[in-house]
Symmetry: C2
Subunit: 309 residues, 2 copies
């Protein structure tokens, strides 16, 4: 590898994670994009390749470009960078496609500049990519992509991201039914008010999930993966959702839910073998309904973005 160039793996991420709506996220290990970021003499940022998805390449229309520019503006640097993006995550699938690109850009540029910024600062720059992608500068995908493992976005003002311990045998299975659900649509159908009683259940479950992650209590993780607020509403947009949940449970999954704003559905399992079995069971549901799908099985990635040789 050349000195002024980085080839990196940018992980897919599961946001919301059931009871953790808008605050929790987790990074995947074997699902993600690749990017090459290269220092060049010409100032600014140029997207020189974008393979695998039909997305805009103009710097200020591309999430990696916008996130990178936010970093450069703050750094006062006069350097220039070329970015090649090899998309393997499908846009709109609900596993953080835009977050992978924007975090990859800021992580690599920061590294090539000699790391002037902290990981938390990188989250802020990457959030500008999310603002471009969805209209909302949310952090629940970019935070786990940058920190790795599970992250809790405790607060936005000021931004406070808490990395949460990830049990070593925790695996995710994600199935992506090839239907389109726009983030803006799936946000629109949410209610602005909730029952206090449902809220209490939700923060009880989130507390249980965080405790289960720290104590590596897989059973507690499973019991806590219940969403009383968002899943009952959003799952209506996802065909076969209830069936996918029930077959996952029967195949041994700890629990399951909507990944991000959907349409992907995730399940957590203890151990890879169970996660694979869950994937097989999920597949059969969509094969019967006749919906195309992708299935991913991955360990939770504790590192975040990784340099590839």
């Amino acid at each position: 590898m050349k000195e002024n160039e980085l080839r990196i793996f940018c992980p897919a991420t599961i946001a919301n994670v059931s009871c953790g709506f808008d605050v929790l996220g987790a990074a995947l290990d074997s699902v993600g994009d690749e990017m090459v970021v290269r220092k060049v003499p010409e100032k600014g940022i140029k997207i020189t390749k974008l393979v695998g998805q039909d997305l805009p390449m103009e710097t200020n229309q591309n999430v990696a470009g916008v996130a990178g520019l936010a970093l450069l503006a703050e750094s006062g640097s006069n350097e220039g960078f070329e970015i090649e993006i090899y998309k393997k995550i499908k846009a709109g699938s609900g596993i953080g496609s835009s977050a992978a690109s924007s975090t990859g850009a800021v992580w690599a540029i920061n590294d090539l500049l000699g790391r002037p910024f902290s990981t938390l600062e990188l989250v802020k720059f990457a959030m500008e990519g999310e603002r471009l992608a969805s209209g909302v500068a949310h952090a629940d995908n970019v935070a786990p992509a940058l920190f790795g493992g599970f992250t809790l976005v405790r607060s936005y003002e000021p931004l406070d991201v808490i990395p949460i311990h990830s049990p070593s045998e925790l695996y995710a299975t994600v199935i992506h039914p090839q239907i389109e659900v726009r983030t803006s649509d799936s946000r629109k159908i949410l209610k602005t008010h909730i029952n206090l009683a449902d809220g209490i259940k939700q923060w009880g479950n989130l507390g249980g999930l965080v405790a289960g992650l720290y104590t590596e209590d897989y059973d507690l993780i499973g019991r806590s993966l219940v969403d009383h607020i968002v899943e009952p509403i959003r799952s209506i947009l996802i065909p076969g959702f209830d069936k996918i949940k029930s077959v996952s449970k029967e195949a041994g999954a700890l629990g399951s839910g909507i990944s991000g704003s959907g349409p992907s559905i995730f399940a957590f399992s203890k151990g890879e073998a169970t996660a694979q079995k869950v994937g097989e069971a999920m597949k059969q549901v969509y094969q019967k309904i006749g919906i195309d799908y992708d299935v991913h099985v991955s360990k939770i990635n504790s590192q975040g973005i990784k340099i590839l040789q």
Copy 2:
């Protein structure tokens, strides 16, 4: 001590704990009641002494009596017990006065019967005492009194209590302004619906608090002790509340909030010296207003109920 008799310490408890409304609680170490529970030939339960508070002594009107009877009914035992209660926690103060009595009864009776029941089962019996005291069989005081430390009541159906790690240097300061706020009143003024946006902040903070407790990150514990839902409403019933909060913070407290349904106010600090300073600052507020008060400073009790020699 006689073979068929136990003298025990029954801890005061802080329920709700700011962002943990209706799910979180913590046990105190140096504030609590004493009880003597004695096996006697006569079947059933008799409250033979009740010192320090004016409370009913008829078994089925007394929280310790009712909780003990719930245990005996389930056990099918023909044994009988006498209970002496030495109240040091004031009823209605918001630090689990009824929970101390009901948990003490079931813990000691279970011990004298050879421990047929698990701690979780004891929580269920003690909840019957809470039902008598407040009309609601809540567990957020009785769970920490029985398990010790911090506990999360993740769910009621089925009952799921999660003991949460307590950092070793965590101290509580509690001030009890001697005004009456009935639990039923302070529950009545709560709204049945909340903003989703406030809910998200609340479960973000609860997740942060649980993470802070496990990682012994005192600063994170402090940042997470924010209640967007209940405190803004209930604090109206507590004179000087905002001032108590601000002087606590200035004196070095990590954070503060309403203990249970009030009127007591708690603050957490790192180390006993700071917790004492916080107590002094709190006192001055009520001295100025002219309200009588009690102040307690205590380590978080990791053991729960303790046998006294």
